[in-house]
Amino acid sequence: MAVELRGIEKWFGEVHANRDVSLRVEAGSVHGLVGENGAGKSTLMGVLYGYYRPDRGVILVRGQPVTFRSSQDALAAGIGMVHQHFMLVEPFTVLENVVLGVEGGFRLGAGLARARAQLLRLGREYHLEVDPDARIADLGVGQRQRVEILKSLHRGADLLILDEPTAVLTPQEADHLFRILAALRAQGKTVLLITHKLREIFEATDTVTVMRAGRVVATQPTADTTPERLAELMVGRAVALRVETSPARPAAPVLEVSDLVVTDGLGVQRVKGVSFTVRSGEIVGVAGVAGNGQSELLEALAGIRPATSGRVQWKGRELAATALPSPHAWRRLGLAHVPEDRHRLGLVLPFAGRESAILGYQDDGAYNGALELSWTAVAAGWRRQAAEYDIRPADGRQRTSAFSGGNQQKIVLARELDRHPDLLLIGQPTRGVDIGAIEFIHRRLVARRDGGAAILLVSVELDEILALADRILVMHDGRIVGDVPRASATERALGLMMAGVAAPASAATVGPG
């Protein structure tokens, strides 16, 4: 037994985050931990990694009870953590990052030489090859993650905790990560994998533990269960993992974009001449690894970020891409925008929920008297939307930041769909959203498509694109490198295009230059 947690209880004020949690992680295994947001996974891992002291319960490492006062103690006991957000010094080399904090004595040179030898050995043993002298700033996300794993191994970790490790990876990079995990297991290391993607549980783990509402609801060998069963355990009811959709019936073009170029504040071209059309009654998905220009494309179309050049047609009307309508004017024309980053754009976190629910529509006649906002009307609108979208809690006076991720997203979605827009721009509709809410949101989007709305969907979750989009555009380095109907799309082909490797097989529309 590598690690055992017994009867862990953790309270945060009134919140009972962990309730009598017991977890046994077999040495030399890959153990998955799944659960919705707020199920207590992060708290539990915080307890195991020395961030939190449990209010009750025991931690045993290799059979010995231990008390962690800090993450240093956890590291000393052989527990390492790879965070979702990397903790690397960008201007430093791989080697310098790995030795940071464990330089080993006064003279840096000797420690570096020892570390270099160990790094090369670890790289060979675990498929973790990274150039020790490369600067972090020059490395891709997948490689940075390997550096994080190397950091933990270099510090002598026997048990590695990985928190949502594939959130930022392409499918190919994720596959490589799973090979690394298999190699770690083969060498006797233990891995605790936290994820909300059920597919990964089945690809990578030996045993899986499901948490719900602070409790462990099941621990079983992965081979003995199914994705549907796990989803049901996580949510507490049966869940459709894939929304059934009928074929799309595209009608007239709503948005036609030609040769759109978007340059960021530093003068770097982020969108390099893309052209595409979104028709009424279809969902067009934009796939791509985060940071390949999708965000800039979405913000430029929404009127938040200026475009440099190009042409845009709105329902056949020509608009100069450099002078697109303001967000305010767009809303009146019938465009709604669910932004990728709801915390930065879509909501005002310190506002009450019902205040956030009118963001962008604060000038709307329905909410305003001659001089003053009608809080009665706002509250009525909130009640209607909260009921229709099952926003919980339904108390509109609660601070926006106190709603869970899924409910925050429902606030944005309810607000933007409320006026039946002709075009919906939607980015990462289910980022940080629980599995139960994902199903709900997907159903709503498909219903709107069937109701004749045009939807442009940007998502880094390939599963989501494949589940919803009728047509898939793949973006790489600011260009559209593929335009594939869903029927002929495969994850592998899309993944290669996302990585910029393969020439597009059926590229109908490719940006120039």
Binding site: E14, L345, L359, Q362, R399, A402
Partner: protein, 368 residues
């Protein structure tokens, strides 16, 4: 969550400032002991000096009136994420406007002068705030820096005008001639006397009513109009405001102008209500005190009114204290005021954790 905890939670916005005040007074007591006086007696003198009789209360509210104006000024800008340090300069310019009006309007009926003075004080204050606002909105020059600089410019302008232009001929001190009595803002004890209600004389004047109306209007504006909504959205998150179609430059110009106008109204109280002439530095630091008042009043008109009364009491009671307890000089009183600002403003949240722990609640949230 138990009902008791819920009740205790709702009381936090009241209990926290109260605890802070107690802490500030406790620290002040140490200062009083250090200079060899009895803290209990000092506190009694302070309280009696500020609230002991009608005259004391009148003085306290007279000081508080100016602090309400500047506190509201700071709060309005603050809701838009703007730190207006320039209320002092904006108030001075408001005074210039009011003085020019009163000097010119000798023969006008008093109600007309009052109405015109409210407009002029607001317009002059707003104009002085508009320039930094424009620089912030269009050029990105930080409003904290520019409003501080505008305080110095205002001081220089006022000195120049009072020494060289507006000075009453044939005298040495830099001040204008006294305004015609018909342009004075009536003091409350006169009004009360005319209505047959006896009231002890104090400088408290009709501007206190203007302050109350201003507080109510600010409350409606910030929390009950779409413009206030846009202001608060911008203050919390500029990116979300842009997403919502709010134009930050426009909101900044409006908010700062309103803020300046509120600061300008200080002159109704000081210039038109009490001194009846324009003096150098008639603001007496009210612009800066307004920052502390807004902070302590949590940028809410009701809180600002309470904080303004507290500071008014410290001014008035402190003056009495310095008179009755010679060991506690005027400077000691300033130290005590400084401690209140330090504990209630700068260290506002120092007691929050212990208080939260006491009533057993989780993560910290702000009241809306």
């Amino acid at each position: 969550m138990s009902p008791a905890v819920n009740r205790a939670r709702r009381l936090t916005p009241i209990m926290l400032p109260a605890l802070n005040l107690v802490l500030a007074l406790a620290l002040s007591a140490i200062v009083v002991v250090l200079v060899g006086e009895h803290p209990g007696r000092a506190l009694r003198l302070l309280v009696v000096g500020a609230f002991g009789d009608g005259e004391a209360i009148g003085y306290t509210l007279y000081y508080a009136t100016s602090f309400v104006f500047t506190g509201l000024a700071v709060a309005v800008a603050f809701h838009g994420g703007l730190f207006n340090i320039g209320a002092e300069g904006q108030a001075s310019l408001g005074g210039l406007g009011v003085a020019l009006l009163c000097l010119a309007a000798g023969g006008w009926p008093t109600p007309l002068v009052i109405a015109a003075a409210i407009v002029v004080a607001g317009v002059f204050g707003a104009a002085w705030a508009f320039v930094p606002a424009w620089l912030q909105a269009r050029r990105g020059s930080h409003v904290v820096i520019t409003t501080i600089m505008f305080n110095f410019i205002a001081a220089a302008v006022m000195t120049h005008l009072l020494v060289n232009v507006l000075i009453k001929p044939g005298q040495q001190s830099p001040e204008t001639r006294e305004f015609a009595a018909s342009t004075w803002l009536p003091q409350l004890h006169e009004v009360a006397g005319r209505l047959g209600v006896p009231m002890k004389p104090s400088p408290l004047n009709l501007s206190v009513l203007v302050a109350i109306v201003a507080g109510v209007l600010v409350w409606r504006y910030v929390w009950h109009t779409r413009w206030g909504y846009a202001l608060r959205a911008l203050g919390h998150s500029e990116s979300a405001a842009v997403y919502a179609g709010i134009v930050p430059a426009r909101v900044i110009l409006v908010a700062m102008s309103l803020s300046g106008a509120l600061a300008g109204l200080v002159s109704l109280n000081e210039v038109m209500g009490v001194q009846h002439r324009l003096l150098l530095n008639f603001t007496g630091g009210a612009g800066y005190t307004g920052i502390a008042v807004a902070l302590m009043g949590r940028n809410h008109p009701l809180g600002i009114a309470l904080a303004a009364i507290l500071f008014g009491a410290l001014y008035q009671g402190g003056a009495e204290l310095a008179l009755d307890m010679p060991a506690l000089t005027r400077d000691m009183v300033v130290v005590i005021q400084g401690l209140v600002v330090l504990v209630c403003g700068a260290l506002e949240h120092a007691l929050r954790r212990p208080l939260d722990a006491l009533i057993g609640r989780g993560p910290v949230t702000e009241p809306s």
